[in-house]
Symmetry: C2
Subunit: 417 residues, 2 copies
DNA sequence: CAGTTTATGATAAAATCAATACATAAGTAT
DNA sequence: ATACTTATGTATTGATTTTATCATAAACTG
C-alpha cells in the first residue's frame, strides 16, 4: 500500500513493506482467534474473501513471520489442507498470578505455553504500587534470562484474587487486596512495561485455561475453585460472564448451608465459605485439637488419611454441592470443573458435590452434566492469563498496534531471510 | 436524490435491480441490528466503509424501500445527522405465545410493534401438531384481516412455557407440554407458514422485551417471572444465556426454602415453587378455607386486601428473594425485573425480595443493583418473540433470504413510485 | 497404477471500494 | 446575520478484490 513501485520493476528488493496491510491484519485476527489451525480453505470460508486474496494476504503475513505453516492433518479424500497458524515465537506474553502469599510470574509464547517462570514471596497487603514494581522487575529479569532473541513483549496478563472491573483493569470493591480498590494498575505499569495490560479475577482465568483444553469452544462451563475461599468462573460460548461489577461467580458468601451458626470472615453468618472454605476447615480441625493452619495443611491431612480431616472435607463437599446445585439450576452448564486446593484431595470433595447436585437438580439440567476435577496444574492461572492476553491483542481493534509492537526492530537489524 | 433519470437513459427502466447487492445487504444488517437509528456518519464509523460506499448502498436500500429516513435528532454543534432506520413497514412478523390455557398470537411490524392480535383457548396437552395448526390458521386469519397491503411475512416467533433447544427449535425434556418433547416444530410449520421459525422459552422472551426498553443494551439483567410457576431469563451484553440444554434460569425447583415440607408438583420437597408459585399460594389459601384456584385468583385476593393472601404473597416474596439472592451472587446482574402474575400485586412481593437480597448479598453485588417490577404488559411475550425474530432474520447469514422474501412480489405488480 | 477428489497457485479482466477534492446543507456560537 | 462546525452528496481516479480460467499438488479409490 505504501510504496508501490520503488524504481523499476523488480520490486523484489523488498516487497516486504514495513508493515502488513490492513487486510492482512484482518486475516491475522481470524487466524489468531480461531480455535485451531486454519487452512487456506477454512479461511476462505470463514472470512468470505476470495482464494486469491487469502493467498496474497497469507504471503504478506508469512513474510513478516507472523504466521507459520502448521501440521497438515485433515485429508478428506483429496489433497490434504495446508493449515497455517500464528507464529508462536513472534512474541512473548508476560503473566503474573498474585496469590495470598506469593506472586507467580512468567513468560509465555503467543500460544500461551510457559517458557520461563519464577515465584516470589510477598504480602498481599503491601501497597499495590510496590507489588506491581515487584512484578515488572521480575518480568524484566525473566526477559533478560531468556536472552535477547529479538522477541518483543506483546502484553501482560494479571491474575488477581479479587473482583475485577475488566474494562478499567481495576480491582472493584473491598477485598483481601486492601489498597487496590480502584488503583490505576495500567497507569502504574505504563512506564515500566509499555504493553497492553489485561487484568482479571483468578477464577475467571482458571476457567479460561480449562475451556482452552476442551474440544468444544462453545461449551457452557463453570470452574469452581475451592481453596482458602470459594469462587467460580462462568464461561458461555467462549465468553467469560463477568456481571455488572465483575462480581459474577462470587459465590463464597452465599448463605445456603444448613449450618447457619458458623461465623464467616466476611462478618456474616452461614456463608458457604465459613463451612467449606479451606480456612474454615482448618479452624474446625483446630477445634478438634488437630494442627492445621492453611488450606494446604488441610489437604495434607486428608492425604495422610486423617479421618477428621476427611470427614470435614466431605461435609464441605456437600456444602459446595449446594452451591453447585444453585449454579446448575441457574446456568444449566454442560460441565462443572472443581479446582483449588480442596479439590486436590481426590474424590472426597467431589463425591459430596455430586451427591447433592444429582439430588437437587432437575434431570434436564443434569442429564448431560459432567462434574470433574481440575487437573493439578500450578500454572493454570498463568496459562489463562496468557490466553486472555492473546485473545485481546489480536482483536480487530488491537491487531495493528500489536503487530507494530511485535515487528518493531529490537535494536539490531533483523535482515529478512 | 430520488429521481435520477426517470425515463430517458436506457438502462434507467429500472436501475433498481431485482435485488439489493451483497454489500447493501451487509449494510442492512448493521442498520437492522443496531440498537437505534443510525446516521450516515454512524454507519461509516461502525462499518469501516467509506462515505461514498455507504451512500451508494443506502440509496440501493432506499430504492427497495427496505429503509427509511428517521427523525433527525442529534446536533452536536453542526449540521444534524440524517439517520436512517429499517422500514418497519417492509414486512410483518408473526408471533404466538402459548400459555397454559390460551394461545395469544398476533402480527407485528418489523419494529416489533403489535398491529393486530387475537387469543384462543386451547389445551396445552393437546397434540403439538393440532396446536401449531391452530396457530398457523390464526396467523393466516390475521393476515387477511389486516388486508393484503403487500407486506410479506418475514418470520414467526413462538413463545413456549418450557425449556427450549434454541438451535433446533424444539422443546427439551419433559414439561407441562406433554408430547412436545423433540417434536419437529419447524418441520410441521414449514408447509403452512414457509418462513423462518424461532422458538424460545417464554421467560427469555420477556427478558428480551424488557431489555429492549432500556437504554443500555449491554446491561446484565435478569427477568424473573413469578406466576403459576417460577422461572427467569438471563441476559448479558444483549445475549440470552440459555445454558447447555436451554434450561438456564429454570429456578422454580431450587430447594432453598426454610420450609422443606411442602410438596412440589414436580414430586420433590421444598422447591421454591412449592411455596412461592401461584399454584402453591392458592393451595395454601384453600387450606385456610379461602376460595382460590389460579395465580390470578391469588392476585385478585391480594388486590382485595385479603390479609391471608397478602401474608402468603409476602412470604412468597421472601422465598423468591432467596432465589434472587442466589441469582445475584452467581450472576451479579445490574438489574432484576420481577414480572408475572404474582408481581402484579404491587409491592407485596417485591418488598420481600428486596429484604432478603440486601441482607444476603455482598455489597459489591448490590450497590448498583436495582430491583423493579415489570410493567403490566400482556403482550410483552409477543413483543419479545418479534424482537427475537427481527434479530435473527437480519443476521448476516439470513439477510439475503429475508430480503428476497420481503421483496418478492405478492402477486400484483407493485410499480415503483 | 490410473482416475478421482480436494487443496492450492498463478494470472488477467471485471467489478467494487476507497481516497480525494469539491460542493452544499443545516445546524450552533457570537 | 456571519462565521464556524458538522453532515452529507458527487465525481474522478487509483487501489483492492473478485471472478474466471488454467494449472498443479497430494492425498484417496478401486
Amino acid at each position: 500500500m505504501s510504496m508501490q513501485n520503488d524504481r523499476c520493476d523488480l520490486p523484489s528488493s523488498d516487497k516486504t513493506s514495513a508493515h502488513p496491510s490492513h487486510g492482512a491484519l484482518s486475516l491475522l485476527t481470524h487466524i489468531a482467534l480461531a480455535r485451531g489451525d486454519m487452512s487456506r480453505s477454512d479461511l476462505v470460508d470463514t472470512t468470505g474473501l476470495s482464494r486469491v486474496t487469502v493467498g496474497q494476504r497469507l504471503n504478506e503475513l508469512f513474510e513478516h513471520r507472523l504466521i507459520v505453516e502448521a501440521e497438515r492433518t485433515k485429508s478428506s479424500g483429496g489433497r490434504p489442507t495446508r493449515p497455517v497458524t500464528l507464529n508462536q515465537d513472534a512474541g512473548l506474553i508476560a503473566v503474573a498470578d498474585l496469590g495470598e502469599t506469593h506472586v507467580h510470574f512468567g513468560l509465555t509464547d503467543l500460544d500461551a505455553r510457559l517458557l520461563i517462570e519464577d515465584t516470589t514471596a510477598f504480602d498481599i497487603r503491601q501497597p499495590p504500587g510496590e507489588t506491581l514494581d515487584l512484578i515488572s522487575d521480575g518480568i524484566g529479569d525473566l526477559m533478560s534470562r531468556l536472552g535477547g532473541d529479538g522477541r518483543r513483549l506483546a502484553g501482560l496478563g494479571l491474575s488477581l484474587p479479587a473482583p475485577v472491573n475488566f474494562q478499567a483493569a481495576t480491582v472493584e470493591g473491598p477485598s483481601v487486596m486492601t489498597g487496590w480498590d480502584n488503583f490505576d494498575i495500567r497507569g502504574h505499569l505504563a512506564r515500566r512495561l509499555p504493553v497492553p495490560v489485561m487484568v482479571d479475577n483468578d477464577v475467571n482465568l482458571l476457567a479460561i485455561s480449562t475451556v482452552a483444553g476442551m474440544q468444544d469452544r462453545s461449551a457452557q462451563i463453570v470452574f469452581i475453585k475451592v481453596g482458602t475461599g470459594i469462587g467460580c468462573g462462568i464461561i458461555a460460548d467462549g465468553l467469560v460472564f463477568r456481571g455488572a461489577n465483575g462480581a459474577a461467580g462470587d459465590v463464597g458468601h452465599m448463605q445456603l448451608t444448613a449450618e447457619p451458626d458458623k461465623l464467616c470472615r466476611c462478618g456474616k453468618l452461614g456463608c458457604v465459605e465459613a463451612v467449606a472454605g479451606g480456612w474454615a476447615i482448618a479452624r474446625d480441625l483446630r477445634a478438634l485439637g488437630i494442627e492445621a493452619e492453611t488450606a494446604r495443611d488441610v489437604a495434607d491431612l486428608v492425604r495422610q488419611n486423617v479421618p477428621e480431616a476427611i470427614q470435614l472435607v466431605r461435609r464441605a463437599g456437600r456444602v459446595v454441592g449446594e452451591v453447585v446445585a444453585s449454579l446448575v439450576s441457574v446456568l444449566n452448564p454442560g460441565r462443572i470443573v472443581v479446582g483449588g486446593m480442596m479439590a486436590e484431595t481426590g474424590e472426597h470433595l467431589l463425591s459430596g458435590v455430586r451427591e447433592i447436585v444429582y439430588q437437587r437438580c432437575l434431570s434436564l439440567a443434569t442429564r448431560d452434566l459432567t462434574i470433574s476435577m481440575a487437573p493439578h496444574d500450578p500454572s493454570a492461572g498463568l496459562h489463562g492469563a496468557a490466553l486472555l492476553v492473546r485473545e485481546t491483542i489480536f482483536t480487530p481493534a488491537n491487531v495493528a498496534e500489536t503487530t507494530i509492537r511485535l515487528l518493531s526492530p529490537p535494536e539490531a537489524a533483523r535482515q529478512s531471510a
